[in-house]
Subunit: 230 residues, 2 copies
């Protein structure tokens, strides 16, 4: 069995397991001061740690004190990078959304047949998921409880709509089947793609390219072999 397919259905460490390793949750205020010899954090590293904490504990349950404990920084040091917890969330969701939206403006998404453009966008989305795995995981968990989250949901909807438009165009030019509602098609396509955050573990032999090829093969040509088609 290949290591890069995680057969468990958990997403990342279960709650508490990471704390059990580091004891970060147990760190009181006195222990959140910078530790000697700990490497400095730039803005991106602070964000990486915050995103991991949001995934493990949920955004609401992650306090700045908990983050400070994980980073071994003072809260003031975090505020130096991000003036509020919500700014950490905004920056994290921006990275996921900027990645996805960026795919839509690439040459491959704006030139060629509708099917070529759709294929480019699906392939690009898989790459963004693999490269920004925790960031997209966080994005997919957003429920719209705050202004920052609602804004992220709006941007996701716009992205979905752009993909649906490509599905419609490829249906209208006769390339894609016309017996499935294009919005259902888009949902099923991103059901496949988004599931990657639940089971793919980076660093294995399956590259993002291979994974994207698998998704496109299933979505466009289906699993049936030519000779078994009815």
């Amino acid at each position: 069995m290949p290591d890069w397919v995680e057969m468990t259905t958990t997403e990342g460490p279960t709650r508490g397991s990471r704390e059990a390793e580091t004891g970060a949750d147990a760190a009181g205020p006195a222990e959140t001061a910078p530790k000697k010899g700990r490497p400095g954090y730039d803005q991106q590293s602070v964000l990486d740690v915050a995103v991991a904490a949001f995934i493990d504990h949920g955004y609401d349950a992650t306090s700045m004190g908990l983050l400070a404990g994980r980073l071994g920084l003072s809260k003031a040091a975090i505020y130096h990078h991000f003036p509020a917890k919500t700014e950490l969330l905004r920056a994290a969701l921006d990275q996921a959304l900027d990645g996805l939206e960026g795919v839509l403006t690439e040459d491959g998404a704006t030139h060629g047949s509708a099917e070529e453009r759709l294929s480019h966008v699906l392939r690009g989305a898989v790459h963004v998921l693999v490269e920004k795995l925790p960031y997209v995981t966080l994005l997919l968990r957003v429920r719209g409880n705050t202004e920052v989250e609602r804004n992220a949901l709006d941007r996701r909807r716009e992205f979905d709509k752009a993909v649906t438009d490509l599905v419609v165009a490829a249906r209208d030019d006769g390339t894609l089947r016309d017996d499935i509602d294009p919005r259902v098609t888009t949902r099923l396509l991103f059901g496949m793609i988004n599931s990657i955050v639940e089971w793919y573990r980076p660093g294995g032999p399956e590259t993002a390219d291979q994974l994207a090829a698998d998704v496109l093969a299933v979505a466009l040509d289906g699993l049936r072999t030519q000779r078994s088609r009815k």
Copy 2:
């Protein structure tokens, strides 16, 4: 736009919206006594309300007091049906898993070609999702933090393995393509199917049958029309 495709990416009401309607969270102990004229709850109705609360608030954040408030029952009345909160979770996850596992033992899943059996199981899984939408939603959020959750994850893994075995059998008899790892295939198939809990709203014109047909059409035959295949 059809009503039954929820274009938002939220799952159910955002946190707090339901409380805002009912004021249940604000109900103090004195208000959790049974209300006059309120219909009685049987075990299944109590479970339905508990599952909705677990989805809205998360299992950990849902107290028996909150449930009592939502139900308009005393905590003792809930304990009469379920002796502990974890028993509510166990019963809820059992209903989702019993449904999925039940599909595997049906005639269509045990007789016929591997492809026919696989198709039956995928179709049956879509039906279970639609009929048990909140229960499967809860199952898909389980992270393995407690014994009950770990047991549920074990059963999900066994179910996935049974589906993967069917994919392997259909590949070996030449029906399904052999250039994708069967476990990746299973993941992508259930990525599509499980996404249904995020966007499907029951009661619309799209029946579970139609939805299952859409999933099978994409998965087995792909989106490309015959004349556009390369």
